[in-house]
Symmetry: C2
Subunit: 247 residues, 2 copies
Amino acid sequence: MNGPFLTKLEYSGHTDAADRAAIASIVAHHRVVAARQDLSAEPGRSTVLVLLQGVMCRYRVMDGRSRRIASFVLPGDLCRLPEAPPKTSDWNIGALSRCAVGEIPIEALTALARERPNINRILWWMTLNELARAREWLVTGTMPAPQRTAHLFCELHACLQAAGLAEGGAFRLEIGQAALADAVGLSTVHLNRTLRILREAGLACLSRGRVEIPDLAQLRAFATFDGAYLGLNGPVARTGGALHLGT
Amino acid sequence: MNGPFLTKLEYSGHTDAADRAAIASIVAHHRVVAARQDLSAEPGRSTVLVLLQGVMCRYRVMDGRSRRIASFVLPGDLCRLPEAPPKTSDWNIGALSRCAVGEIPIEALTALARERPNINRILWWMTLNELARAREWLVTGTMPAPQRTAHLFCELHACLQAAGLAEGGAFRLEIGQAALADAVGLSTVHLNRTLRILREAGLACLSRGRVEIPDLAQLRAFATFDGAYLGLNGPVARTGGALHLGT
DNA sequence: CGCACTTTTGACCAGGGTCAAGGCAGGTGG
DNA sequence: CCACCTGCCTTGACCCTGGTCAAAAGTGCG
């Protein structure tokens, strides 16, 4: 059940088996979130969420109509970490598909972070990961639509791969084109055309909730994608190092 | 000399005078960086830098020609924090104007973070700050050019204000229009036209390294700027709280 | 079977990129 | 003191990517 989460922790290269067992033991209250449902409005929340299945997104509604997706939350990602007061962010988190999440009591997590340096390190790693992803999107924002979309597919593939959810060059992505458009910053119409371009070029094909990438290397070259920013080391144990700050 | 840094720490609302004195004491080796010079290429670096004067930027060169600026480094900001291995980022840091920086030995910083919870909190705060800024830029990226530029001015003003470097609605910004364009994601030509629009609308005026904002409230309304994401509390002591993670 | 949502396509328009040529400094050397 | 040069700002003309409006074709579900 915690599969994707643990697999991702393994990929991060900052945990050993004991760390993963420890963190798995504090994941409680698995529950299901329906597609299209918002998580953010729950007040007095004292739990961190781990996404285990499905896709969620962090978004903001702009002029009352258009929505901008700042990041996806993929299986293995944490969200709703406690914020530093006063609230520094007004992002909504919404489920784009039917999702399964685990809840982690904050006190348990902080306690674990205090007693296990690797867990602390993982929290830093995840945060820096988000930062790196956000900045990468800033860069891709200036690329033409097909490249940008391709780049997103590459990123999704890499992240899902690290969570053990890719089947070769293919992965499930149960998302409407509208959501994809909001993430890439295109209109639905133009995203659709862009998808057609990618499909006809044989680079990638999204259909019925599934992305198929015939030739990953080719797509990556097309999108000038270099996954180093994701900090995924492969499932290799790797410890040591100090504070592990970034930037 | 450490003025902007300490003022900003004060604004962050997570430090008391003792924290600031402690951190000030480990800032060593003040030095000057010429405009246009890159910092990133220094190997074996074991120091964190605090920017004290001037403006730097975190950028990447895209197709060999065009540069994208992912964030500005303003007085009071840290940069070149140690990275988690393997290197997760390939960003360059360059001085856009003549800069003064302080160097902080990493070991001293990590030691301080270990013994003073507030310092640890500040490191989190700064990182989350960067994250919030990056995401905000993602959102502004979809706004039309004048609003986007105005939004950037508002952000710069708020950050510089927190470092004690704003004089009312005006602040120094010794940056070429090309740099600004790369940050906002516009061409130099179009940025220039956009600046003219803002100037003629009486919203903001950039000239000879100085931005003047006649009516801050008006500019903010125009850009739909809400500075909450910067997490600046004003110079009020505020402690407590636990891990202070965000997202 | 009908309803509602999503995907697809067409036609038209505009924000912003690109190319290219002038202004307008400040710095240097005669 | 002036000619010159280099770099930056400014403006014009033209084009193209991608937005908007609108309608048709799937697709899933009660």
